[in-house]
Symmetry: C2
Subunit: 218 residues, 2 copies
Amino acid sequence: MRDIFHEELEGITAQQLKMTALVKDAIEQATLALLTADLQTAEKVIQDDVAVDSIQHDLDERSISLMARQQPVASDLRTLVSSLRISADLERMGDLAHHIAKLARMRFPNKAVPEDTVAIVTDMGKAASRIVEKLAVVLEFRDINRALEIEKDDDEMDKLQRTLIGSLLAPTWKHSVESAVDMAFLSRYYERFSDHVVSIAQRVYYTETGEFAKKADS
Amino acid sequence: MRDIFHEELEGITAQQLKMTALVKDAIEQATLALLTADLQTAEKVIQDDVAVDSIQHDLDERSISLMARQQPVASDLRTLVSSLRISADLERMGDLAHHIAKLARMRFPNKAVPEDTVAIVTDMGKAASRIVEKLAVVLEFRDINRALEIEKDDDEMDKLQRTLIGSLLAPTWKHSVESAVDMAFLSRYYERFSDHVVSIAQRVYYTETGEFAKKADS
């Protein structure tokens, strides 16, 4: 019985990794669409989000069915409950990439990001891409050291957000209020994306160690 | 065995109602603190958020322990899984009230909301209060008609958000970019608060009927 259980659990992890890969692609393509005012890419990200939602739905059904059939207890039960939450976080990350793509589409044919803000948005996009890449390693290898590193990576994202917000509020901001509001929301989408990665990393850490993660030196 | 199970399930619902009451109080007090630049009330909302987090933690432990001890299947298992998600939504609603209180604190002794934006923010606060009040009825009486109504109430909130954003972007906006960014974030906090209520109402509907909610006429 236990062997079937762990085999099915591996299937669940495989699906989580697939979701993670889709979400990584979504955030990267959304950033590209945003920075280059590429409508076609934006539309593709928006459409592809249903694939993420559909895997989440499937994953939840598998987790609940596995609970019902195998009646796991203790750490196996916690792992399954945790997997329900991980898929919810990944689904939300897909939504955030979708929001970014929608901003690109809304401002098309203009570029949503003013020229002097491109560098910082590029950095936020790269930070999002790096953190979700690390997340894939955490999920695949249950790597608790990398899970701890993710909190530091998120601090980096928070710093980028503060810098971007600071630039909107500075007297040197010469663009419209609309543009400032766009950039404020945009910074929040990246920041929340990164928060969900932290939340998943913390769950993996807890499932593996039975303890709550203490923040690594930062 | 089943009787103990349903007794414990009632205990879980009671805790969800307690969380809902705390979150309702938090959003109302946060709105008050925001509109009157009341630092003391803002601080209280910020501090009290730990109580919401702590009930969520306790609720999750109870749900997982109940799963392990009673090994529910079918609809009982789904109800428990759904309760894990409901508590996560409620916890996030507490966070959003906390964000609103933090905005009030950040701008103290000034009022964060410009005079000509007070009416719409007041309406958003009232809409949040009404929708979470209805949520309590949905959770307590598993009232699927009210669960459907909640989607319409959320449409109302979305409309308020669009109006607020519209006013920031209008040529008549005479306040700072900082103030526009504050109001943009604020509108999103209320809107997301309302989204989480919808998500809980949809879960209750699904648990009670086995079907996904179709949006009521709107």
